[in-house]
């Protein structure tokens, strides 16, 4: 049982690291702000959840797990909120996605 938990936590840590790395490469290489935001929010939710879950399995039922749970809940609440606020501000500032044009009936 302990070995199974160990293997599961290692799997979660490694896959979380891979997701975080993919998100970082996407933030650096994708062509415009909105696609970069898409890559960045991947690491904010899935990568965070996998890595914190892997650590939680290693920690067992201790106070550390409670703290990790608090961190995970807080990051899951604030990450998408910050991404939404950023996209909203960028769109209000008139930043359009690449190769996109405003429809005729929408005032610029």
């Amino acid at each position: 049982m302990a070995m199974l938990l160990d293997a599961l936590s290692w799997l979660m840590l490694v896959s979380g690291g891979v997701f975080v790395l993919i998100g970082g490469i996407g933030v650096l290489r994708l062509p415009d702000l909105y696609t970069r935001m898409h890559a960045g929010s991947l690491t904010d939710t899935l990568g965070t959840l996998l890595i914190l879950g892997g650590i939680m399995l290693q920690a067992g039922l201790t106070l550390a797990t409670v703290k990790l749970l608090a961190i995970a809940v807080f990051l899951l609440l604030t990450g998408p909120t910050a991404t939404y606020a950023l996209a909203n501000a960028a769109l209000l500032a008139g930043l359009l996605p690449k190769n996109a044009e405003l429809p005729e009936d929408v005032a610029p």
Partner: protein, 102 residues
């Protein structure tokens, strides 16, 4: 395994810093800095267990709180500045013809 995860997070932080430096618009930079802050929280949590010091988790929790507020504050600042500039432009456009009339 903690080491592998922390190295992946560190590499991602470097990539985010590169985007923050070259980002063409200010929103790219804010996105990169936000991501850097989230990765810092993750790094704190992983390093806490890598070195066997669960006290670091308190730092991670505090950093998560500060990071979110900071990003929202910077966004609000740029929004306000843009509105202020637009208002100034509009008022100067209105003022000019009046000054010419008089």
């Amino acid at each position: 395994m903690f080491l592998a995860a922390s190295i992946a997070i560190l590499v991602t932080m470097v990539l985010a810093l590169a985007r923050a430096l070259i980002g063409p618009t200010v929103y790219d930079r804010i996105l990169a800095v936000n991501m850097f802050g989230t990765k810092t929280v993750l790094l704190f949590s992983v390093v806490a267990f890598l070195y066997g010091r669960p006290d670091f988790l308190d730092l991670a929790l505090a950093y998560a709180l500060i990071n979110f507020i900071g990003v929202l504050a910077v966004l609000q600042f740029f929004e306000n500045r843009q509105q202020h500039e637009a208002n100034q432009e509009a008022s100067s456009n209105v003022d000019k013809p009046k000054a010419g009339d008089v």
